[in-house]
Amino acid sequence: MTLIKLSGGRIFDPANNRHGEVGDLHIRDGRIGSAAAPGEPIDQSFDLAGKIVMPGGIDIHSHVAGGKVNLARALMTSDHGDHGSAHDAMRRSGSGYATPSSFLTGYRYAELGYTAAFEPAMVPSNARHTHAELVDTPMIDKGCYVMLGNDDFLLRLLAEEAEQQVINDYVAWMMRATRSIAVKVANPGGISAFKFNGRELGLDIPAPYYGVTPRRIVAALSRAVRELGIAHPLHIHCNQLGVPGNIETTLATIGAAEGSPLHLTHVQFHSYGTEGDRHFSSSAARIAEAVNGTPHVSLDVGQIMFGQTVTASGDTMAQYRNHRLAHPRKWICMDIECDGGCGLVPFRYRDKNFVNALQWAIGLELFLLVKDPWRIFLTTDHPNGAPFGTYPHLIRLLMDRSFREDMLRTIHPAAAAASALSGLAREYDLNEIAIITRAEPARILGLADRGHLGPGAAADITVYSDQADKAAMFAKPDFVFKDGRLIVRDGKLMDVVWGATHTATPEHDPAIEMRLVDHFERFMTVRLGNFRISDSEIEALGRGRIAAHRATGPALA
């Protein structure tokens, strides 16, 4: 038993209604515990007077692992040549900024005060690869969202008008087999449609061959996730990403869920109107209005930041459409195993480009117009909008209006004029930052012992020095603890630890497996028994651990 005392910090723990009050925390064997009994020895003390104390950061949408990330690494060797780091007594070597190698991904998240990140787009057939990368990703907890909704098995079920129960069984089986914690759908039906040479797909257009509409896919999957009791709502990347005018599709998608909870991801890319001379405008206000009035809908922003990155997505239809914008001019699209796809398009977002500048403003408008911080999350859709290394800068944009105004004056003037941003006075406070980067991510994923500092919670803790420059403050935590171990001091790595892989374990009728065996043996090139991942594959090497969560009901009512 070890006892660590953190004294006198200002504690921002929104889940437990602590909004900066001065207090002490005690860590007992990696968890938040009770104060020392009289005479009980304290193994280690940290005087945190004047410091800001928060739970460790949790990133709910970050493309950190799997086939598409590796393809991005192979495509973007320049990203790696410019960002290499050597091994030392503690660390492995690595490279990359937009798509860091697995060890660097863990080290850099920890150095930013993050203790968990979730890979949001795992193609089922790529699950073994994705988990193998995460086994090599140190420091942080992790988990994966399995991508469904373009898989031929589900589309066949829908075309045959299978009962919802069968769909639920399939979704539950798939989550367990791929060791996932949530379900994602990207461009429902559209990735499949692209394989049939479909180049666009609206919400109510029957998809090629199956005749199933995206609306039907959204309804079936969001209902399955709700009825299975999965905490995280269906995580949806809507149809028509990046297309001017896609606001109508995004708003209609909320209705398509027929009242089931829904998480709209990287909404910045789905909030575009067609107004103005350039037929490209911000519809952030309409999204915010819809979300503000719909308590069962949450969103993450997918903020873009100016600079070079590479976009990695399951949405081959959108990536193929956007390949003409590739910078540098190279790109990849891949059809995958009758269950998905992936596309890689390098982008350089430029502040003097009208569209890019307005995208930047639209993201910030969303942050400032959505009223309830418990339903919006800080993401850049790493690396698609920007690499996660830009988070401190993004936090400053949210917390510091004058900084934001300075930036606004540097972007394409027509974009600045077309945006409502200059009129938005709101500044996030530390409590709201703690909600959107800590408390709410844990809650919406059903991680009961993460994202807060109440008794029994895992001691994932970040300590900052309060500074006027919030980017500097969030770039360099004073201390980061992971499960009670000090891993970062003054922004520098102190120790290498291995986090857990979070999974959900919904129940299903075992009979679904008979149908799946038949499907795999007749049509696929992998046997079902080999498709399924075993815990030992993740827990191998003694540095992985599964944290399985029972399905106890949706996080958003």
Binding site: G67, R92, G94, H129, R156, C333, D335, M524, N530
Partner: protein, 420 residues
């Protein structure tokens, strides 16, 4: 697992011995032998049924030694080395993790014995990207398959059976009307074709491949003229619902492989302006694909990456294991051939060789250190990548084995380097 007392039939066994990684094998496991009952091909039969000694002792300079002493000797060689090369890499993911960790620590260079062809594919990918597909997509969607270059079937015997058969598909109850075209030199053996397949072979010598592919690309883009067979092929490709172009870059002529692959990728992109088409680069023997994937995620770079200057540094020419050995720049060689198909190169006797391979592996002369290891998928469990780059498969331990895995052996060497 326990000692099998009598014969046991294992189903759905995955085979790690070529890039197809078929996982529908049935293998009869008896105490002393493995017999393939279903899903066999010449390669899997030779590998699974190969009669290897069940155990062997490590050797130092040809003399049997204790394992600890051999591990210490290997660590000593790596400690003394200024530029150790980690080659072969015929092993599972755990073995690759061990090799990458050791190379990082020892400041070495990492490369796979079969990576020459891979770099033709990767060069095109890094220059322009690709549009590609995977085996199950080909199996269910492709109506035209063009195979370019020397016949890959001898090294991937079940490719057509697995990916281009006349069985029903997801979208056609009675199977698709399919057409197979091979553009390349004559094959030694007539292909065993799935029934109902239209097949034609357009002969083309290896030396003529690059200009012929260039002409085909022009025809696909709609330019007129030239060879009737090529024109007809170009028309068929433009008319196909889902045309797939496959090649095995390792079989293409080295001097023009980059150009051929680039032309094929461009051709597929041209076709996609109006139709669907995809590339299918074939590769992956000795878990080449897994080696490249693990190197990418752990270092940020493909194979042929050096840790000599600290941060990983990639160069497909400078950091070729073959080149470093030939030029004499390498001063130690750790060679992994746990899958049994990659014998170490014959090198000059000054280059100390640490060999990790199954017992019974043929050697021209005794290596400085020989560390016998088990074969993943036979002696121990593991994971391997299929050649299409997306699917990884679990490998089973088919029988109890006293042989350690390559991964455990490499980890022990790393520990010995640290403790001395």
């Amino acid at each position: 697992m326990g000692e099998p007392r009598e014969t046991e039939l294992r189903r759905d066994v995955a085979c790690p011995f070529c890039g197809l990684a078929c996982d529908d094998l049935e293998i009869e496991v008896a105490p002393q032998q493995l017999r393939l009952r279903k899903g066999a091909c010449p390669i899997s039969r030779a590998q699974f049924e190969r009669d290897l000694p069940a155990d062997a002792r490590p050797q130092i300079a040809g003399r049997e030694s204790e394992r600890d002493a051999a591990i210490a000797a290997a660590a000593g060689i790596l400690r003394e080395s200024r530029l150790p090369v980690f080659g072969g890499l015929g092993t599972d993911i755990e073995g690759l993790r061990g090799a990458l960790a050791l190379a990082d620590r020892a400041g070495g260079v990492i490369d796979h014995q079969g990576s020459r062809g891979l770099f033709a594919d990767l060069t095109a990918l890094r220059d322009i990207g690709t549009m590609s597909t995977t085996f199950s997509e080909v199996r269910n969607r492709a109506d035209l398959l063009l195979i370019v270059g020397p016949d890959p079937l001898p090294v991937m015997p079940r490719f057509l059976e697995r990916c281009f058969s006349s069985e029903p598909t997801l979208f056609a109850e009675t199977g698709i009307e399919r057409r197979l075209v091979r553009l390349g030199p004559d094959s030694d053996a007539a292909p065993e074709l799935p029934s109902g397949l239209r097949y034609c072979h357009i002969p083309c010598s290896v030396g003529e491949l690059a200009p012929t592919v260039g002409r085909l690309r022009a025809l696909v883009k709609g330019r007129a003229g030239g060879d009737a067979a090529l024109s007809e092929l170009a028309g068929a490709m433009r008319g196909a619902g889902y045309a797939v172009i496959a090649w095995m870059a390792g079989l293409l002529p080295p001097e023009s492989a980059d150009l051929i692959v680039l032309s094929l990728v461009e051709m597929v992109r041209d076709l996609n302006l109006s139709h669907r088409a995809a590339c299918l680069p074939l590769a992956g023997a000795e878990n080449l694909t897994g080696a490249n994937q693990a190197c990418l995620w752990q270092t940020g770079y493909p194979l042929r990456t050096s840790f000599a200057s600290g941060a990983p540094d990639h160069d497909p020419h400078i950091h070729s294991a073959h080149r470093l050995i030939e030029s004499g720049e390498a001063d130690a060689l750790l060679w992994i051939s746990a899958l049994g198909g990659a014998p170490p190169p014959v090198t000059n006797s000054d280059l100390p060789l640490i060999l990790l391979a199954p017992p019974g592996t043929g050697m021209s002369s005794p290596p400085a250190v020989f560390l016998p290891v088990g074969r993943p998928g036979i002696d121990h469990a593991g994971q391997i990548f299929r050649g299409d780059g997306i699917v990884a498969l679990p490998l089973a331990a088919l029988r109890p084995s006293p042989l350690p895995s390559a991964g455990a052996t490499l980890t022990a060497i790393a520990a010995a380097m640290g403790s001395a």
